[in-house]
Each structure stands twice: as C-alpha cells, then as structure tokens.
C-alpha cells in the first residue's frame, strides 16, 4: 500500500539521502546514462521513436542486460535480488502484457480495494476490474496497467508512454493523478512523446538522442 495511500511517503523526509540515482548505466545498445531524481520528483525523457527511451527504462528495471550503478535511497540495485529491485522500481510498458484473460487475476486479493479506488481516480469503474482484458480498449489497458503497478507500492515508477493511447481528457486526468502520487513521495521516470505532459510533470528534463542523453 506504500505509494498510494499517502500516509507514509516512501523513503521518508528525515531519512537522509532519498531518491533515484543512476550512474554509468550502459549496455551494448545504449548509454552511458547519468541521472538523479529526488523523492517526489519526476524525470521526463523525450525524444524521437527508436532513440532508446524504452531501453533506458528497461535497463533501470534490470530487464535487459546492462551495467552501471542504480540506487533507490541507500539501496543499491546489485545488493538486492532482482525481483525485490523490480518491486521497488516498477516498469510499466507502453503496451503492457496480461497473463490471464480476467482483469482481476492481475491483482493480489489484498490489493483489490486499493485497485478500485485508484481505478476510479483514473476514470475507470469497478466493471473494468471485474471484466475481461480482451474487452478493454488500449487506453483502458494502459490505465489499468498503471493501477496494477501502483497497488504493489513501488518507490519509483518507470513509465513508458503512459498516455500514448489516451484522449486529451484522460491525459489531463492521468497527469493530475501522477502529480498527486508525486506529492505522496513517488519517484517517476517518464518517457513520452507528449511535450506538454513532460513540461507539466517533469522536474528534471532529458532529451534522448541516438541512445544517449543529448547534452
């Protein structure tokens, strides 16, 4: 429930160094990258398609082979098992995958209530959560993937084009939603084509070009 209740900001305000620190992150395909994002802040990465934005997020989540230092607060990525790390820094793909025909199977039972509350903030209803994945529109799936990630209580969200399939009204709602999560202490790394969204949410801005940050 961390990160969605607002009761206990991840990292805390009195715990010394908090935030996401990335140093010398590289793979055969991309990097090296340097980036620091404080707790409650958002780094917005924009850039053309194929410039390496998704690769960057996947490397932070350790989903692709890579090297370099990544830490959340005083927890270094290499010091915890990979699943633990990915629970702290959850990657949400642009086209999220679903492993069961039923939407509800993607949520742990103890998260069901929190999921409904979050879904409603994003303009979804309980019916969306009890239905079938195949009946959902791309935009609905994208928002449900965001809910699915948040109920697990991550310290950082790595969002890959989270509003790519949303209409303008839904984008505004999603932006307000993410701004609220930031105030609760969530760290966001946002990859997007939407310059307005990047300007609105991004405390740190980076431009990706040819698989590295443009100077």
């Amino acid at each position: 429930m961390r990160g969605c209740s607002g009761a206990s900001p991840p990292g805390g305000e009195d715990g010394g160094v908090t935030g996401l620190r990335i140093h010398g992150l590289r793979s055969a395909l991309a990097g090296p990258f340097e980036l620091e994002v404080n707790a409650g802040e958002c780094a917005a990465v924009t850039g053309p398609s194929g410039s390496g934005k998704s690769l960057f997020l996947r490397m932070i989540a350790d989903l692709d082979p890579n090297e370099g230092e990544v830490a959340l607060g005083d927890v270094a990525r290499g010091s915890v098992p990979a699943p633990d790390w990915r629970r702290r820094a959850v990657y949400v793909a642009a086209e999220p995958g679903w492993w069961d025909p039923r939407v509800e199977a993607h949520f742990r039972r103890q998260d069901a209530e929190a999921a409904v509350a979050l879904a409603e903030t994003l303009g979804l209803t309980e019916a969306h959560l009890s239905g079938e994945v195949s009946r959902l529109s791309t935009g609905e799936r994208q928002r449900l993937a965001l809910v699915r990630a948040l109920v697990r209580g991550p310290e950082a969200l790595l969002l890959d084009e989270p509003t790519g399939a949303l209409d303008r009204a839904s984008v505004v709602r999603a932006a307000a939603f993410l701004a609220q999560r930031k105030r609760d202490g969530l760290i966001v790394v946002l990859v997007t084509h939407d310059e307005d969204l990047a300007a609105q949410l991004g405390d740190v801005r980076r431009r990706m070009q040819d698989r590295r940050f443009a100077v």
Binding site: D64, A82, P83, R86, G97, W98, W99
Partner: protein, 268 residues
C-alpha cells in the same frame, strides 16, 4: 515357440502392395511415386543395416560395443529433439537441452527396467539393452521435443505477459509457471493417450511382435504393460528435464527473460 521365418519371395509378394501404391500415384496424378520409392528403399536399407549391426553386437556381447550403439542412438535422438522446434537457442543450446533430457530419461528408465523387472544376465545383455533403449528413446524423443517446442514457442509468444510479471517484481519461476505447466501437459498427453488406446484401438507393436514370435498372449501383454509404464515414465521425465534445463537457459542471475538467446528457425 519357433517363429515362422520369412524368405525373400515372401517379402517380394508383400512389396507388390507398394508397387500398387506407386501405380495409384501415377494414375491419379498424386505425384507421390518418387517419394514413395525413396522412402521404401530407405526403409529396406535402414532396417537390413540395423539387423546386421545388431547381429554383430549380439554375437560380440561386448559391453563397450553395446554402450557405443546405445550412445549413438541417444545422440541421434538428441539431435532430433533439438531440430524439431521452430525456435532454438543460440550456440547449440537446443542440443544441450535435448541431450540432457534424452540421455537422463533414457538411462534412468532403461537401467531401472534392466536391473529390476527384466533382469537378464548380465543386465546389460545387448539382446535386451539395445531394443529396450531404442523403444524408450522413441518415446523420450517425442516427450522432449513437444516440451521444448512448447516452452520456446510459448516464451516467444508470451513475452509481453511474462515481462509484465517480471516488471512487477514476480520471480522468473512464477512468471513462467503457467507456460511450463502447459508445455509439460502437452508433452505428457501422447503417452497418456497411448495407454488409453493400447489393446483396443491398436495392438501395440511389441506385443504383436512377441505373439507372432510365438509368445503366449498373456505373457506378451505383461511385457507390454511393463513397457507402457516405462515409456510413460520416461517421456514425463524427459519433458521435465527439458522444461527445467530450457527454463534455466531462458533466464540469468538477475531473473531476466533472455529472448536474445533465441533464434527463429529460417523457414525453407
């Protein structure tokens, strides 16, 4: 109990049926007669060759020679397991998976049968060891190749779903559990179906052979039952080893899904 031995004219009479098939292919423009001829020729040569080799192996009764024959058969089966799936691991990985599955399942089941149920003296008597290994290999090959095809094809197809679970912090084992169970289930089905159909829809080959060779039908049935246990056990074992070994190669120390290690076979 002496079997009726076949003579060359006996075989030629039966071969007339193949000639008839060929004539049918020409008359109906099936365009199969050339392939039929090649397949027939291959079958005759292969079986006669095996007959000669086995005669030699049996006459020598040399454990090293028996082992060599069994190893060659195992290698051929492993290669077949590796070649069948549409996806394959880079750098000969399929051969490693196939070899591990085929060799472990076949060795374990054959040795179990030879040392407990059949018990020839010595237990590695080629009369028993070679044909038994052969029939077990055939089933193990099926189980392992279905399992390998299932897991490699499935993992490529379900990439987004598996990575979604990994990204949420689920361990690789959990993220691929449904896929592995599904591959195992598919690999087990032929063996289960074979047992259900045994004796009703088909009279199994071994039993038929033993009855023709003069064995009492009930004794032949008992032999067949033993074999069915062995075959089902062996193909399940091969499927499990395949799924475990292939699963391990699909991930790494950081529980990533390593699809970069897979290649799709070029369609010809």
């Amino acid at each position: 109990m002496n079997p009726i031995l076949l003579t060359a004219p006996d075989l030629l009479t039966a071969a007339s049926l193949i000639v008839l098939d060929g004539a049918l292919s020409i008359a109906l423009h099936l365009d199969l007669h050339w392939r039929l001829a090649v397949a027939t020729a291959r079958m005759v040569v292969q079986l006669l060759l095996v007959g000669f080799v086995l005669r030699l192996v049996f006459a020598r009764a040399d454990p090293a020679l028996t082992l060599l024959v069994v190893l060659v058969m195992t290698a051929i089966a492993a290669r077949e397991v590796a070649a069948r799936p549409a996806w394959r691991f880079a750098r000969g990985g399929n051969l490693i998976v196939g070899g591990a599955a085929v060799a472990s399942a076949t060795a374990l089941t054959s040795i179990l049968a030879l040392t407990t149920a059949i018990r020839p003296t010595p237990w590695y008597d080629p009369h028993y060891a070679v044909p038994l290994t052969g029939i077990i290999l055939g089933n193990v090959l099926n189980g392992a190749s279905i399992a390998l095809d299932g897991i490699l094809g499935g993992v490529a197809q379900q990439r987004a779903a598996i990575e979604a679970r990994l990204a949420l912090g689920d361990p690789f084992r959990l993220a691929t559990r449904a896929l592995r169970a599904d591959s195992l289930r598919r690999a087990m089905l032929p063996a289960i179906n074979q047992m259900s159909a045994a004796g009703i829809i088909t009279l199994p080959g071994i039993m038929t052979g033993q009855i023709i060779a003069g064995m009492d039908p009930l004794e032949a049935a008992k032999y067949q039952i033993l074999l069915m246990f062995l075959l089902t056990g062996a193909s399940a074992l091969a499927a499990v080893v395949t799924v475990v070994v292939a699963g391990r190669r699909l991930t790494d120390g950081r529980e990533r899904l390593r699809l970069d290690r897979l290649r799709e076979r070029r369609r010809t």
